[in-house]
């Protein structure tokens, strides 16, 4: 009898562990659904009261206190234009045109969703500091070391994954209706990774 009780205890304990683990893996390993614009994805239910339980949990884990899409559109990517996973030890060039929004920014985050430590305190490029060329395009370098002194630079540190977040505050009505229509910035790797 004792053996049977032990087996039953083990069975139910395993059920609880698998239930918790499957939820955690699903939330952290399976990509969030949403609308794609190039390599960028936005979830239209972020911060919304209409969010389903999985979306709400994913947002809480990775972007808690997000604003509703009527206020802000958030696009994220964790891979470059070639489909390779972004890595903190690599060099990337971001290139694009200012999005149609009252204000925008692109911020680099480490795999833990926090800012990269750097003495320069540079973490983002935005409508405030982006330099536009004659064609109205901006560019920025994301890498552990500076390169072109004329190009804005977002320093990274350490190794491992990286995520970029594009924030659009006060996005234009057409983009709010169709977030997939964003002329998305490109993210190209420069050279080989160390």
């Amino acid at each position: 009898m004792r053996r049977s009780v032990a087996q039953l205890t083990l069975l139910y304990l395993a059920a609880v562990v698998i239930g918790v683990a499957s939820a955690w893996l699903w939330l952290t390993r399976v990509g969030m659904s949403g609308v794609d614009a190039g390599i960028w994805r936005t979830n239209l239910l972020a911060g919304s009261r209409e969010a389903d339980a999985y979306t709400r949990a994913r947002i809480a884990l990775g972007a808690v206190l997000a604003l509703d899409r009527g206020e802000t559109l958030y696009y994220t990517t964790d891979h470059d234009n070639e489909g390779n996973t972004l890595r903190a030890e690599c060099r990337y060039r971001i290139d694009g045109t200012p999005p149609p929004a009252r204000w925008w920014s692109i911020t680099a985050y480490a795999a833990d969703h926090f800012l990269f430590a750097n003495a320069e305190r540079r973490y983002s490029i935005s409508g405030e500091n982006a330099l536009l060329d004659d064609a109205g395009r901006f560019a920025a370098l994301i890498s552990p070391r500076s390169g072109d002194p004329d190009m804005p630079w977002i320093p990274t540190s350490g190794t491992g994954g990286m995520r970029l977040t594009l924030r659009l505050y006060g996005a234009g009505e057409p983009l709010q209706r169709d977030p997939g229509a964003l002329a998305a910035p490109s993210v190209k790797r420069l050279g080989d990774c160390p």
């Binding site: 059920a15 239930g19 939820a23 949990a57 206020e71 305190r121 924030r167």
Partner: protein, 182 residues
């Protein structure tokens, strides 16, 4: 008493049910646990500050900020944690800050249930009464908001840059925010 072999299928089915319920409970609980921590810490911060405003003014965002994921380095923040189970919350602001700012309210399940920004309040004035759905009453506040949950969190965002003049104006604006019992 031993468990008859023919009962095992029942237990396997029950275990599958337990697994599914645990999975669902985990997904449901994660945003609430995270918000509970944010609300608890936010309330403590405001109390520790002892400014009498009910508002916590975190330092400018940089890489040392490791309490809330994905902080924006381009924003200055002010926060209030609230509990409207006993009394409504009165939120006021009077600012001349001429750049983007917003005040967002979050429920204890992390939903953003209300937001007002500088374009919604062109005169720079906000007077909000945040109430429990169970205790809705009248007030002198200009605008009333019903919170879907008793506990929640207020987050004010102010767009800043490296200009010291802009920083000082944003600092003055967030210091004008007040959160108090109505």
């Amino acid at each position: 008493m031993s468990i008859a072999p023919r009962r095992w299928p029942v237990h396997v089915l029950l275990a599958l049910l337990v697994m599914a319920l645990t999975h669902a409970l985990t997904v449901w609980a994660i945003p609430r646990l995270i918000m509970d921590r944010i609300i608890t810490l936010g309330g403590g911060d405001a109390a520790m500050q002892q400014s009498g405003t009910g508002v916590y003014l975190p330092p400018p965002t940089d890489h040392t900020q490791r309490r809330i994921v994905m902080p924006s380095p381009d924003l200055l923040y002010a926060t209030c944690a609230f509990d409207v189970s006993e009394r409504p919350l009165r939120v006021t602001l009077d600012t001349r800050y001429d750049r983007y700012w917003s005040i967002a309210l979050y429920a204890s399940n992390s939903d953003n249930f209300f937001v007002i920004n500088d374009r919604d309040a062109p005169d720079g004035r906000v007077d909000l009464l945040v109430q429990s759905p169970k205790y809705v009453g009248s007030s002198a506040a200009a605008q009333s908001v019903t919170a879907p949950t008793h506990r929640g969190f207020l987050l004010m965002r102010l767009l800043v840059n490296d200009d010291p003049v802009v920083r000082a104006a944003a600092e003055a604006a967030r210091q004008a925010l007040r959160c108090s019992d109505a």
